[in-house]
Amino acid sequence: MEIQTRREGQCRVVCISGSADINASAALREALLGAVEGGDTRIVCDMAETDFICSDALGVLITAYLKARGRGGFLHLASPRDHLAEILETTRLDRLFSIYPDVHAALSAG
């Protein structure tokens, strides 16, 4: 898994490429929780290149979402591939996260 981040206005876009599996979840945790604790509470996760996610990594997304929300911000998900979208639906996490077709739409929603 590779993580790249960039700033878009007042938001932090976190691009997650490859497999968010058990061996990658620590890096994901560091990237997302580090962003929130560093003051970036408006986060968009770009999942266009994420080809796998395990329950541990889902837990990292949830933790970061809750911390961002607790500080008045948000964590949105953008452009999940079909397999990821299916997991989000199966787990009903599509009810928790706001999911957008692309990063631009997520940033516009704010």
């Binding site: 599996d21 061996n23 796998f52 889902l58 809750l66 996490l93 928790l96």
Partner: protein, 143 residues
């Protein structure tokens, strides 16, 4: 202390592996099983499902079953055929009651960061059964 993967390929077609309780062995085990299924013609949806279920089973066995104790092992057996794949994962821990795991999909549990592994295994495999002690899970995916 189990410090290396041990493997036997039996005449009955089952491949049996003994893994150390080391989360870094998960990916290689997945790669091996999925490679075999790819050779047999399983499609991307099936490969994704098996990878997800195997990942959750192995992580559960190491983290929750063996409590990351490096002195304990995880026993994996799989049978891959053109018609189905069967996978069994057993740990050496104290066991648990899979029926006691709260449903992560109900509204009051959606914000819980953990507890989704078993439901994902059940959703993505065609058959999932736990032993009475909870130490072993047997899963089947039909092609």
């Amino acid at each position: 202390m189990p410090d290396a993967v041990r493997q036997t390929d039996d005449a009955d077609g089952w491949v049996r592996k003994v893994l150390p309780t080391d989360l870094t062995t998960v990916r290689e085990t997945e790669r091996e099983v999925l490679g075999r299924l790819r050779e047999l013609g399983y499609d991307d949806d099936q490969l994704f499902a098996v990878r997800l279920a195997l990942e959750e089973a192995l992580v559960n066995a190491m983290r929750h079953g063996n409590r990351l104790d490096p002195d304990l092992s995880v026993h994996v057996a799989y049978l891959a055929t053109p018609e189905r794949v069967e996978i069994r994962v057993a740990d050496e821990g104290l066991g648990f009651d899979p029926g006691g795991v709260p449903d992560p999909t109900v509204d009051e549990n959606l914000e819980r960061p953990c507890g989704r592994g078993i439901m994902l295994m059940r959703c993505y495999m065609d058959e999932v059964a736990f032993s009475a002690s909870g130490n072993e899970v047997a899963m089947v995916k039909y092609r």
